[in-house]
Amino acid sequence: MPILEMAAKFGVYAVMGVILIFALGVVTLRNLFHCALCLAAALIGIASIYVVLQAEYLAGVQILLYVGAVVTLVIFAIMLTEHLAGKTVRQNNSQSPLAIMALLGFMALIGTVIVKTPWPVTPAALASKVSVMGLGKALMGAYVFPFEVISILLIAVLVGTVIIAKKDTPERS
C-alpha cells in the first residue's frame, strides 16, 4: 500500500526532526532538569525509530535501560544536589570555539566513513532478523566468555558499592 508507506516515511522524518529538537534542547537549555527531560524525550524518540526499523527488542531495551535507568539516575543526582535543580546554569564557556572545531573535525571524519562505506544490500541480510532467541543463544554459545567476564565485572561493582555504602563503625567520642 503506497499511501501508507509514504505516510510512514513522513512520520519517520517527523520523528527524526523532533529528536533533533530535543537533542538541541539537551545542550542549550539553561536548566539542568529541563535538559535531563529533553534527553529522556530524545531517547524515547530513538527507540521509536528502532521500532520502525523492526528492531523491537533493541527499542525495548533502549527504553528500559536508558530512559528507565540512566535518565532516572541523572535526575536523581540533580535532585539530590538541591541547589542545582532550581538554578539556571550557562551551557557554554570560553572553550566552546575549540570544542566546535573538534566537533566539526569529528563530523567530517564520520561523514567520510559513511560516504566511503558501500552499504551492501543483499537478500540474505534483508531476510535475517535478530530475534530474542537468537540473541540468547549467541550469549550462551559463541559469546559466553565475554558474557561471563561482564557479569564478573558487574558483581565486582556491586560488591564495591555495598562496601562503599556500608555504615562505618561508629566512633565514640
Partner: protein
Amino acid sequence: MIPPMLRGIEFNVDMIFVTAKAWILSLLAQFLPAWLLVLASIVISGVVILCLGPVIMMYLTLLERKLLGRIQNRYGPNRVGKWGLLQPIADGIKMFTKEDIVPANADKIVHLLAPIVIVVPALMVFLVVPFGERMTAVNLNIGLLFFIAVSSITILPIFMGSWASRNKYSLLGGMRTAAQMISYEIPMTLAVVPAIMMSQSLSTNTIVLSQVGDYDLHWYIFTPWGIVGFIVFFLCATAECNRPPFDLPEAESELVAGFHTEYSGMKFALFYMAEYMNAFTLCAIAATLFLGGWQGPFLPSWLWFFGKTFLLICVMIWFRGTFPRFRVDHLMGFAWKFLLPLTLLNILLTALWQFTSNLAAWFWSILILGISLWTLVKLNRTFVPEKRHYPMGN
C-alpha cells in the same frame, strides 16, 4: 446475509468482540479503499482501548470505595444513582469544574506536562494485554519486555510533577517514589523470568497459550515456582502503582499528598487515572503470566480474563483496607533483602523443574523453598537499630 469477511469466523459468545470488529470492518469495506481499511482496523482497537482505560478507572474508584466501605462496616457511596453507579460521573463533573491552581513559583510547563505524560505509558501498556482469545491489540513478540519498559517510564512524570511544584512535600514524595519504584522494579522483572523460561517466549499471547492443559487449568500458579513468582510479582505490582501498604510516596499523614500535593481539578484526576489504570494493567499481566490469562473451562475467554483481573484488584483493595503503611527502611529492606534473593532462587528452581520428573521435583522444590524461606526470614529478623547520637542535639 453473512458478509464475506465473516466466513470462517465461528459465531459464539467467546468470539463476540472479535466478530463485532470483523463485522464493522466488513461494513466499512464496502465504501472505503483498502489502505483506509488498515487504518480503520487500528483506529477501532485504539478507540476501544482509549475508552476502556478511563471507564475502568472510573468504576475501579467506585469498586474501591464500596469495598473499603464494607471492610470498614459502612455502605460506601449509595446516593448518586442505583448502588451509587453514577458516582464516578458525578466525580468527573466535579473534577472538570474545579479551579486549576498552579503555584506561583512552579515551573509552569513541566507542571502542566507531568499529569499529561503520566497517562501515556499507562494507556500504552494496554496494547499488549491479552483480553481474550485473539483479543490482544498488538501481538508484539516482545510483549512482556514492552510492558516492563513502558511502565518504567512512569517514574519520569512523577519526578516532573514533584520537582515542578516547588514544594518540599512534593519533592520528598518524588524522591520516595523514585527509590521505591526502582527498587521494586528489579524483583518484579526477575519474578517474571520463570514464566518466560517455561513458555520460551516474551509474547503475552504465547505465554497464555503455553498454559493450556486439561480443562484449561494448567496454570503456572499450580507449580511451586509459579506460586512464589506470582506472590512476589503481585507484591511488587502493588508497590509499583504506589498502593497501600506501599503508598509512602503519597502518605497522607506524613506528606499531605506527596507528589500531587500541588495539583487540583483535572490535573489531579489524571494522576489518579494513571494510578488506577496501572493497577488494572499490572493485575491483568499478573493474571496473564501466572493465572492462565484467558484460559479457563466453560466460560468465554474474556469473562475469565476480567474475572481473574478483578479478583486480583479486589485483593489489592483488601490490602488497602487491612494493612498499615510500611516504614521507609522496612520497605527498602523488603525489596532488597527478601524479594530479590527469593526471585533469584526461584529462577534456579524453575530450571530444576524443567529438567526433573514431576513428583521428585515437587518434593525438592518445596524442600528448597522451605529452607530458603526460613533462612531469609531468620536473616531479616527484626532488630533494634542502634540509637543515634546527635552531638549538637543538646
